[in-house]
């Protein structure tokens, strides 16, 4: 298997069995992002204590790329300082996902990152 095929497998795993899916108790920062072109939706929830992201969960609906990337992002953020999220760039996140996406699907892949960043901003 090539590296890209492995990435595609990982995406599919997260899509079929998303991590951290559902309602986050005690969430104090949340945001819904929606892609009007395809209807993909991600509602991202964080529980922030001081400068640390204690927990993260999401709910949503959409293609494998949009939902799997949200699932992976929740894993990445748990226990990290807010700064980590704030300094995570779009290209950095796409690198972590490891799949090649065309411009049309880049939006899907970045939906959860946009939601998470906006959630933090809105909670301030």
């Amino acid at each position: 298997m090539s590296e890209e095929e492995i990435s595609a497998e990982i995406i599919l795993d997260h899509y079929r069995n998303p991590h951290n899916y559902g309602k986050l108790e005690g969430s104090n920062a949340s945001m819904t992002e929606y892609n009007p072109i395809c209807g993909d939706t991600v509602h991202f929830q964080l529980r922030i204590a001081g400068t640390v992201i204690e927990d993260a969960k999401f709910v949503g609906r959409g293609c494998s790329v949009s939902q799997a990337s949200a699932s992976m992002l929740t894993d990445m953020l748990k226990g990290k300082p807010i700064e980590y999220l704030e300094s995570l760039t779009e290209s950095g996140f796409l690198d972590v996902l490891g799949i090649k996406v065309g411009p049309a699907r880049e939006k899907c892949a970045l939906l959860s990152l946009t939601a998470a960043k906006k959630a933090v901003k809105a909670s301030r």
């Binding site: 599919l12 795993d13 899509y15 079929r16 069995n17 998303p18 899916y21 559902g22 309602k23 819904t32 072109i37 395809c38 209807g39 993909d40 939706t41 509602h43 709910v59 949503g60 609906r61 959409g62 293609c63 494998s64 790329v65 949009s66 939902q67 699907r105 899907c108």
Partner: protein, 423 residues
Amino acid sequence: MLDPVRVAKDFPILSKGDLTYLDSAATTQKPVQVVDAIEDYYYSCNSNVHRGIYRISEEATERYEKARENISQFVGSRDPAGTVFVRNTTEAINLLSYTLGRQLKAGDEIVLSVMEHHSNMVPWQFLREKGVVIRYADIDSEGRLDPEDLKSKIGRKTRIVSLTHVSNVLGTVNPVSELAKMAHEASSLFIVDGAQSVPHMPLDVKSIDCDFMAFSGHKMLGPAGIGVLYGKPELLMRLPPFMGGGDMIREVRLDGATWNDLPYKFEAGTPNIEGAIGLSAAVDYLRNLGMDNVRRHEMELMDYVMKRAGEIEDLTYYGPRDPKVHGGVFSFNIGQIPAFDLESELNSRHLKISSQELHPHDISSYLDQSGIAVRAGHHCAMPLMTRLGVQATSRASFYVYNSRDDADKLFIALENAKKAFAR
């Protein structure tokens, strides 16, 4: 008979053999005949129309007006004054909503249907600002317009009934002449969105008896940026102008202006001359194939597609089962991904997308890897998606250059996609 393999030879983009193009409802490919006509205009008589008193300007004007006559005749309109060149269907309907809208008052009603494209919805919704009421006719379980419901929506206050001839999602072919009668019996105007019908079937605005019809050149082998608003000349005459500027005036004084004759009253500014010439060449091309043949070809293809679709487990498709009332549009889902509702989602236990469910986006990405171009999404018909209870669909749409072979490629790739996404 129409031989799609021979037809495809006229389309350079298709003759390379690495593209299975199934998105003609969005826009069609262009044959060399159309590209040649545009090129010939550029290289032999490019100039502005209706202005220059010199040879090539007269030649350009003649080609532009011949194009108008040719396109008029193609849809059965004898008087070219009723054929207004616009950019596309969207602009034609905006022109109507603006000009007809100025004559409407609070409480007047406009009847549309839930299957309309956004371009036959949003321009009318603008008029709600002045108190105009929009009513929507529903569809039945097969995606046909529900005639009883439509009847109940048309009433004393109805001024405009505007409906699509063929749905760009369901493929439903609406019985437009009957609908015209219903509208006219209520003393209402009747407008047809012909974006998905003019390219695909023989039609005649006189026998439909529509008051206005809109269609786009780019969906019928012609270039983008040219479309048509057909209107009964006596009705167009009574409308106020849409855009002001050159060409649309007869006389301008510092304190006002008078309007030019039809159709120029609605063609402000330098028109899309090469677009009209290209569309005229597209019309010649289609006429040569024979619109009866075009319709029969798509009907046979859809009959085949629906049979093949029935063999794929978990595949749902939308629109009438009878190919006689189903255009060349095939919208489908594999499994049903329910629409998203935040509150109920937050309170549900755990989401598991089962392996029978493939998101339309994933389907089109997968098909793209095999060189198959289909559309995924809401197809500019979000209210219809809601009505169908889905977030999106995949859509394969067929035209004169598509064969059973293309349909086979689609279904083989769909089977493979199902395997690839199965867990």
